[in-house]
Structure formats: C-alpha cells, structure tokens
Amino acid sequence: MVTYFSEIYHGLISLFIGMAITFKEFFKPTVTVAYPYETLTMCDRYRGHTELIENEEGKPNCVVCGLCEKACPSGCITLAGEKPEGEKKKVLTTYILDFTRCSLCGSCVESCNFNALTFSKEYNLASTRKEDFIFDLLKRLEERNK
C-alpha cells in the first residue's frame, strides 16, 4: 500500500519536473537557422570534398608528384601535368576527383607534402546526375579566383 502511493507520488513529481524543463526551454532563444536563407559556417574540422590550395599568384601549389593519386584507396583521383618549355617544375593540367567514390578518408590530404591539397567546406551538394559529382578541381580553383 505504501509503495503504491509512493509510486504515484514520485511519478507525479517527475512529470512536473519534466514540465518545468520544457517550460524553461520555451523561453530560450532558438538555435537553428532558416536554412536556405541563412547558413552556418562549417567548423574547422569539417570534411567536404578535397580542393587544391593556391599560391600567391593564384596557381596551384601542386607539383604533380602523384602521391595523392597513389594514396587514394578508392582510386578517385586522376591527375596529369606537363613541363612547359624552359620551366623547371611540372605544371598541373588536370586534377579530376571522382567524388562518387570518395570516402573522405583524408589519405590524399595527408600524403601531400607540398601543402597543395585540403578539405573544402562545401556541403551544398545535391544533384540528380552522377556526372555532377566528378569534380574538376583545377577548374574549381580558377572559378574561385574569378
């Protein structure tokens, strides 16, 4: 009999405690943003698809060593470069990232010794076509610099 009433009593009290919590939450400011109109900046460690880092002249830092291509476990990266007449270093001509297979593991970023590759903060990636996820990173770099 005593347990019966104490159970009712404690149950009832716990209900009021719950209601007090939601009552307090009601008056706190909202924490979400109206997404398409406002967006949050992504945190530092967010991993979007990879992108090339540029030097001061706006050219990619990449020296076409091919280490990232080898490091990628999924074979997402296809790159090519050429050595123009009279230059010492190779110049990147294509860098294709097949994002449909990328697992964002970060091996490519880690393997790059020339500070040429990093994760972007891009997350608005929705499309109905597969081709939209095969990124030409060199073109993206140029577009960024426009």
């Binding site: 209900l15 939601t22 939450e25 009601f26 400011p29 909202t30 979400t32 109206a34």
Partner: protein
C-alpha cells in the same frame, strides 16, 4: 431564449465557425509552441509569424483527391471523419461562455456533452474498421480499450462534481462557484465541496481529458512509430483534415468542460475583478488549459498500451471512486 429555427441555425453556424477557427489556429499554436520548446522558430515564412500557414494548409488539403481504398466499407469510411467533427460542434451548443453567451442551456448539459463525447470514440472505430488496413484496425482496437478505460474515471469524477453542485446544468455548476478563486471546485476551502481531495479530482479529470482526446502521451491510436498513422492511415484530403480539426475541437471541448467543472467557468478569480466581462475569464482559462495540453504533448513521450491501461484501472479509477464515496460522506455529514 426561445428555440426558433433561426437562432438554432445561427448558433450552429457560430459553433462551426468557432470550432473551425480554433482548430486551424490551434494547429498553428501547437507547431509554434512545439518549435519553441525544441528551440526552433517553427512555421514563420507564410505571413507574419507564419499566421497564414493554417489557411494555406487547408487549401492544400482541399485540393487533394479523396481516395477510398479498394475493399473498404464506403459508407462507414466517409461517415467516420464527419463523426469525428460533429459531436464536438454539437457540444459547443450547450457550453456557456458567460452568463449570457450560451446557445442553448439545458438542465442536462453535462449528460449531453458526455453523450456526444462518447460518440467521438465511435469515429475512430468506424475509421479503423472501414479502412481495410491492419494498422488502422489495430489502432481502433486500442482506441476502444482506451475509451472504455478513461471514460469511467472521467464520469466518476464528473459525478463527484455533480453531487457537490446538485445539478447537471452547466450554468448552475458555474454559478455555484462564484465568489473568488477559493470557491472554485478545484479548491476545497470556501466552496461548497469542503473536500480536500478536489485538486486530485481535477488532475484525474484533466488526465482523462488528455486520454479522451487521444493526445500525446496517450495518442496510442495514432502512434506513428508503430501504426503509420493509426485510424487515419488511409485518409487523405479533407477526410484527414476533418480528423485533424476534430481532434482540436475535442481539445477545446475538453478544456471547456475542465474550466466549467473545476475552474469556475466565467467567474473572475478575485471579486474586485468582476467588472471585466465573464467571457474574457472563460476564454483566458480555456486557452491556458489548451496551452497546457500543447505543453504536455511536447514534454512527455508516448506511453505504452499497458502503461495507459494500468494508469486507468489501477490508479485513476480507484482514486476517483474513493473520492466519490468520500464526497458522498462529506455531503451527508455537513
């Protein structure tokens, strides 16, 4: 007021208007309130504060096609949503909003409201049965056991109040609670109840109202996580719209009844505030109760069917029965 055809029609039109307006804007209030509790803004795009959301939702629902599943019982399938809405609207006719604002006062008002309220349960059974859908079927089975379980303590508690007032007339019940906040039936001291268990009765009645209107945490009839949408799984268009409006209209009726039976109806809480019209106090109490409904829904998770039936049969019914006998004893002694 004489009962002529004209004022019956006027009363019904006003009742439908009031019910529909409340249903529409309670949905808005519910969504905004839920959002605030979850710390989101809620619907705020259409119109100021999202106030145009309910009419737009209504237009969307009306523009949809009403499909009837193959093999369904057509007559019952169409009758069910109407039956969900109609008892609530009928009940408005006898609810006194103030000393003067009442469509038709009856000396068996309490009885009439409970008679119509029990018909509301039928709509769930009809909908579940006629949909030819196993989820809807399970939902209506649950709804029946729930309605049986919660109508009993609710009626016993109502009988307690009726015994204290000595009348089934809603206006008379309210009149007996006039004076001040301490004369209301919820508080035992100055009123004619002298019963220290009345706050408990209020809680029992309020809990039963929650269960009767199938609101969370007692919304086992809908239980999206188990039963898709329960009894209205197969309803689209305004069939669904009517169920939805019926739910909110029932909330309004339930809150009206709680206000009348326990919170002194249109009476002002303190005598010197009596110059403010009664309808203001009535609506204030009504909407505070409705806000509590919304608040409760977004605080507690859904109970289990066992928890629900245990609560009724093991706690609410014994306690309300005890209070009934206790009140009878008190009336005999004093």
């Amino acid at each position: 007021m004489r009962l002529t055809l004209l004022n019956v029609i006027v009363a019904v039109v006003i009742a439908i208007g009031f019910a529909a307006l409340n249903a529409a804007y309670l949905v808005w209030a519910e969504r905004r309130g839920a959002a605030r509790i979850q710390r989101r803004p809620g619907p705020n795009i259409n119109g100021p504060f999202g106030l145009l959301q309910p009419p737009l939702d209504g237009i969307k629902l009306m523009a949809k096609q009403l499909t009837i599943p193959g093999g369904a019982d057509k007559v019952l399938f169409i009758a069910a949503p109407v039956l969900a809405m109609f008892p609530a609207i009928m009940s408005f006719v006898t609810i006194p909003f103030s000393e003067t604002i009442v469509a038709k006062n009856m000396n068996v008002g309490v009885l009439m409201i409970f008679a119509f309220a029990s018909m509301g349960g039928m709509s769930l059974v009809f909908a579940g049965w006629s949909s030819r859908n196993k989820y809807a079927m399970m939902s209506s089975v649950r709804a029946v056991s729930q309605a049986v379980a919660y109508e009993i303590p609710m009626l016993i508690t109502t009988i307690t109040v009726v015994m204290i007032s000595g009348s089934m007339d809603l206006m008379e019940i309210v009149r007996q609670q006039s004076g001040s906040i301490l004369h209301w039936n919820i508080f035992p001291l100055l009123g004619n109840s002298h019963n220290i268990l009345m706050p408990m009765s209020f809680l029992i009645f309020f809990t039963c109202t929650l269960a009767e209107t199938n609101r969370a945490p007692f919304d086992l009839g809908e239980a999206e996580s188990e039963l898709v949408a329960g009894f209205h799984t197969e309803y689209g268009s305004m069939g669904f719209g009517l169920f939805f409006m019926g739910e909110y209209a029932n909330i309004v009726i339930g809150s009206c009844m709680t206000t009348i039976l326990f919170l002194g109806g249109w009476n002002a809480p303190l005598p010197f505030l009596g110059f403010i019209p009664g309808v203001f106090w009535f609506l204030l109490k009504l909407y505070l109760l409705i806000a509590t409904f919304i608040w409760i829904r977004w605080t507690f998770p859904r109970t289990t069917i066992y928890g629900l039936l245990n609560l009724s049969w093991k706690i609410l019914i014994p306690l309300s029965l005890f209070n009934l006998l206790f009140t009878a004893g008190l009336i005999k002694v004093f």
